[in-house]
Amino acid sequence: MLATLLSATLVALDGRVIRVEVDVAPGLPGFTIVGLGDASIREARERVRGALRNSGFVHPPRRITVNLAPADVPKTGSAADLAIAIGILIGSEQFTARAGRAAMIGEVSLGGEIRPVPGLLPMVAALARRGVRRVIVPADGADEARLIGGLEIVAAATVAEAVDALRSRRRAAPTPPARVELAPDGAGSATPAVPALTETMAVPDLADVRGQVEARRALEVAMAGGHGLLMIGPPGTGKTMLARTIPGLLPQLSDDESLAATIVASVSGEGPLRALVRTPPFRAPHHTSSYAAIVGGGRALTPGEVTRADGGVLFLDELTEFSRDVLEALRQPLEDGRVSIVRASGAATLPARFQLVAATNPCPCGHSGDEDRCRCPLGVPDRYVGRISGPLRDRIDVWVTLARMKAAAMVAGPDPEASSVVATRIAAARAIQKARLGGRLNSRISGRALRTIAQLRPITARRLSDLADGERLSGRGTERLLRVARTVADLGGADAVEIEHLEEAARWRPPSSRPNVALAV
């Protein structure tokens, strides 16, 4: 007998509805799955066999053929396990399902439990778009699935529970309301029934970072305008520590951003999620990460770090130690805010609108500038930061060099500001930018629009060209200076970019554009 059920698979960040057709026919016992499945789908045979047997059902000794349709969509992962298992039970007439065509998502274990799968959220969303009213999901993933409103989510912990849900005449449970409405203005998260997604890493507070006022200021400017930031300095000067405070400095995501971030988190296997992701992602991949890990890829077109950092910050510690391919691959996302992945199994364009924050030592030994300690051969320190290719440097607006602090300065001095104080200023500066034409952050503005919002007075414009001449800035360098100056002005609440803003912004240029000594102006 033939059984047809609905399930879903992932293509990049999108869920795709698939039809699972199970034919249990007389003949030599066998189990075949067709329909562009990958290795994990083929392995479903073994999981399903065990799950059925250990749930008190019989794995029928007959000829079982599973077809996953449509045939042209490559299927990956184990999300269709449950549908295959249930299909075999219906096909071998071990129970009779009621109430139309059911949809289900979940991986089964040999013991018959249903396990959550990555990407549950977009898969349920795809089923909802198809008009499905009722979806059986792993019990652990029910909260995540309920983020999609308007359909009944049935949580099942085991295959047996799923069978019960399908067999019962009545609906297993009344339609529960969606925990978080996606449409309203984020009020849903005001009274979280479940705690918001907690960061896996503890976020240090800026109050814990003593000294380095120049770098703190650079960080504040970069965060306020969404500018790329590069911190250069010897080990132990606080580069990484400063970067790790970033999650505490950025404003919460808007509803649209939040949904996008939640989908990416779901697909990336951070789930099962309990609520919408409200904090901007902060991704800090290790410098040994592979190209595929950063950019994304694989047969399933899995999102890479650039996509997982979408809407947030990608922090590359030890930037110069990343492989050249990886760094070159950052160019497209930095330029377009998305990344294209082409693999044999298909092509996908994923969002990658991240803010780049990077840190590097000034030289291989890390102590360049400290003559007693740096033992790098002559010329090596000069070349070290030079490894960052031109196109990448062009996309980093804010450069700051950190010096080793004297111990006295670390102990004495006023207490540093807390993250919350700085975050307030950053939020205010961002609000000003959002209210301006286009509502984009300064880092995403260039050309004429930038000139317009800068509102330069003639005397300020003159100063800009003097500074650009003195520093031998290219057109792009001049634009970068103006862009950062706009953010400095926003932080100061100024309508127009003034000379003082330009002069501060001039400090955040790449060190290589500094001549030996500035020429007299």
Partner: protein
């Protein structure tokens, strides 16, 4: 002997198309100057051989005249045999290259004109007289700008490694600025690192500086210093090459060029040099040419000072040590004119420990600047190094400090490196106590 004296100033073969009448120089007929420019662009024809050719033919123009004849190559090879039989005659390839250059004379001279280069022949009045005294002076120089400053009473070369330490960079800056304030012309090689720092420091003081480059003007190296080269010319100095515009700089041309850096100066100061630095070649040339040679010593384990220290050891009887900027000026006989009133000449009276030079205060250097700039400059002179320290001393906001630093940097009074800020130019010589 063939073609001897053929073509005097009014001789045949006057058709060097595009040759501008260059009447401003006395001494050398324009034809000869143009002919030199053409001959110097021949690959493989050095100043010695060219000298012999000119000697035999009678004038550079005469050499070109020969090259435009029928059996030119053979005649040229014959002419390159010195009368006394010394030296190798030119090869067929070089002879052929001369003939080719002669045919291309118009294009070569056109390029010289297009790049705004003057050809200054050894017999010209503004040819640097110090260079005439070296062993093999270039027959002609390709000059952008004015050579006038090389006739100054004091010309000092400041050279060093292309990969200096921050200290080296700062010292090059201080020494260049001090020499400029003392009225000396500073000669260097336009390289990145010490050379560039010295040139730039002089420019920041509105002083005179001349760069000798190791290739043709159309192949300016390093490209990163194109703007610096322009600034040197604009400030009344010069960028000078002994090579025709299209000659590529190579490994071999730089050591050759170094003899001009030392030769054009009275003294050479090596600020920092690694064990195999080309700056040591310049120092050796200086000794050979009878120029004073000063080296800045460094820690014995500092790679960037290994060359200087080694040279001081090897040539302890000839090379001199730089024990301080005022002391250097004194040794060069520049202190009286340095604008730094000396209460007592350093070094006199034997005991070095008693040297005392009165220096201007930071606020004197900064007269007319804003209060914020003065406050930041004072902090720097008093030893503040990072923005944290400046903020702690001045109690200004971080943004205001950063802005003031930018303005001081533009004025050449602050040097930023590795997240630290240091006084530069006149501010580096400012007296913390009197401030």
């Amino acid at each position: 002997m063939l073609g001897v004296g053929a073509g005097g100033p009014d001789g045949a073969g006057a058709g060097l198309p595009g040759a501008p009448p260059n009447a401003t120089h006395a001494g050398v007929p324009a034809r000869d100057r143009d002919a030199l420019a053409v001959l110097l662009s021949v690959h493989g024809l050095g100043p010695m051989t060219l000298g012999r050719l000119v000697d035999v033919a009678g004038s550079p123009a005469a050499v070109l005249d020969i090259a435009q004849r029928q059996s030119a190559a053979g005649e040229l090879i014959e002419a390159s045999r010195a009368r006394d039989g010394a030296g190798q005659p030119i090869t067929d390839a070089v002879a052929a290259a001369i003939v080719e250059a002669a045919g291309n004379a118009g294009a070569i001279l056109g390029e010289v004109e297009r790049l705004d280069i003057r050809v200054v022949a050894a017999a010209d009045r503004d040819y640097p007289r110090r260079l005439l005294a070296i062993d093999v002076p270039p027959p002609a120089l390709f000059v952008r700008g004015s050579l006038e400053s090389l006739a100054s009473r004091h010309v000092v070369a400041v050279v060093g490694t292309r990969h200096p330490s921050p200290t080296g960079r700062r010292l090059a800056n201080r020494i260049g600025a001090a020499l400029a304030r003392a009225g000396a012309t500073v000669v260097s090689g336009l390289a990145v690192g010490i050379d560039g720092a010295a040139h730039a420091a002089v420019l920041a003081q509105r002083g005179n500086t001349v760069a000798f480059i190791g290739g043709g003007h159309a192949r300016l190296y390093p490209r990163a210093h194109e703007r610096l080269a322009d600034a040197i010319v604009d400030a009344g100095g010069a960028v000078v090459s002994e090579y025709a515009p299209r000659v590529e700089p190579t490994k071999g041309t730089f050591p050759q060029r170094n003899r001009l850096i030392s030769g054009a100066a009275d003294a050479v100061v090596v600020v920092e040099a690694g064990a195999r630095s080309g700056a040591l070649v310049t120092a050796s040339w200086a000794l050979e040419q009878g120029r004073e040679c000063f080296l800045v010593p460094g820690p014995i384990d500092a790679p960037a000072s290994a060359g200087c220290n080694g040279f001081l050891r090897d040539w302890h009887d000839l090379a001199r040590i730089v024990s301080g900027v005022p002391q250097l000026l004194d040794d060069l006989g520049l202190l009286g004119s340095a604008g730094l009133p000396a209460s007592r000449r350093p070094g006199e009276g034997g005991s070095a420990g008693r040297s005392k030079v009165r220096l201007p205060s930071a606020s004197a250097v900064l007269s007319g600047r804003s209060a914020a700039e003065i406050a930041v400059a004072e902090a720097l002179v008093h030893g503040a190094v990072t923005v944290d320290e400046i903020v702690a001393v001045t109690r200004m906001s971080v943004g205001a400090v950063l802005g003031a630093v930018t303005r001081l940097e533009v004025l050449g009074l602050v040097l930023a490196a590795h997240g630290r800020y240091e006084p530069a130019g006149p501010l580096a010589a400012a007296n913390p106590v009197a401030a």
